[in-house]
């Protein structure tokens, strides 16, 4: 079983995920941010599932390991869908939704195929290695997509505070995850993920919940103040 600190971080993360859904409902923004809510509801379900498997089979069991990495991969796909929904929020006026949707599907399948090819070439064909490689690559693709979306926000001079802060939080989350998985992959110390990822898992729903609480859909900010070097 994980230590008390691990469990506290875990329960906090799950509580923050539910808090975002509650905040969305309270602020009447559940449907507007439907895919973010869906992702966090799925994440809560996965968290509860992980806890039961951990409790029944133990942390070092194959059941827990496979459930952890495969639920993680599925959640990443759900997060991608949430990210694409943010694209449609930002690019809604340009009517580029179809292109974005197909581009994202192509990227997702391409990343899964690339990760499988990398692992299949190595002598040790473990499914868990594939899960690590896939997670690292998916988070990195997510990071690139978020970076492009952030570029679009700056280019289109987006003024709505909520989407801006939701996208930036997502950027921080993807960067942190991609860096952690990459560090674990090249250093071989997979325990790094055990501590950093749950903390990042708390950060994202907390940050989104605070954004929902602090700002309304009418809240605006000055786009020029978002650019580090004024144009």
């Amino acid at each position: 079983m994980p230590g008390p600190i691990d469990l506290i971080i875990w329960f906090l993360g799950t509580a923050f995920e539910l808090a975002f859904v509650v905040c969305s409902l309270a602020r009447k923004s559940f449907l507007r941010y439907f895919f973010l809510n869906l992702y966090l509801l799925l994440s809560t379900t996965a968290s509860i599932g992980r806890f039961f498997i951990l409790w029944r089979y133990g942390q070092s069991s194959d059941q827990y390991m496979y459930f952890y990495f495969y639920s993680d991969a599925l959640l990443t796909v759900a997060l991608f869908v949430a990210l694409i929904s943010l694209y449609s929020h930002v690019l809604g006026e340009l009517r580029a939704g179809e292109y974005v949707k197909w581009g994202a599907v192509f990227l997702l399948l391409g990343t899964a195929g690339f990760s499988y090819a990398v692992v299949a070439q190595s002598a040790n064909r473990l499914s868990t290695s594939f899960a690590y490689e896939l997670s690292q690559n998916l988070y990195f693709v997510g990071l690139v997509l978020t970076y492009i979306l952030w570029g679009a926000v700056l280019k289109l001079r987006e003024t709505r505070t909520r989407p801006v802060q939701i996208i930036l939080s997502l950027g921080l989350y993807f960067s942190g995850y991609a860096a952690s998985y990459a560090l674990a992959n090249f250093s071989g110390k997979h325990s790094i993920i055990q501590y950093i990822c749950p903390a990042l898992g708390c950060f994202l729903p907390l940050s989104w919940s605070l954004t929902m609480l602090r700002y309304t859909d009418e809240s605006r900010l000055v786009p020029a103040q978002l650019v580090a070097v004024p144009r």
Binding site: Q165, S169, G171, L172, S175, Y181, A182, R214, V222, A228
Partner: protein, 133 residues
Amino acid sequence: MMAALIFAVSLATLLMFFVSYCRSLVAASSRHPLSAEVRDVTGINAVASAGDYRRVVQLLQLCPERQEDRSGLQAVSIYHSFLTAARQLSAWVVPSLRSWTEQEQAGCAYFAAAALDRRIAYSREMLAQQDNL
């Protein structure tokens, strides 16, 4: 090789997103008009200066805390420390960065002053509720 490259790029974007996130917090508070009391007590009139931040934070610690402000203030506090370190490190290399960091720290000071304003209003509300009871 691939993992090392991803690690380096992810760290760079992590820093970029952190700076942008803090700037968005500061930008969101820049439209908050400060009350006359806060302007008097902090000495900030229309525009804050880089040196105001520490004084405003000391004043903030005297007021009852609001849960909603805590994480934003922590993020901006880390950003302020980052700017201080960046200013000291780049003093010899890029002197022009000094004015940029000062401008950013002034934004942090205004953010803290806006939080102080909200805390004072919150304390007043609490006192009024107690009086009603």
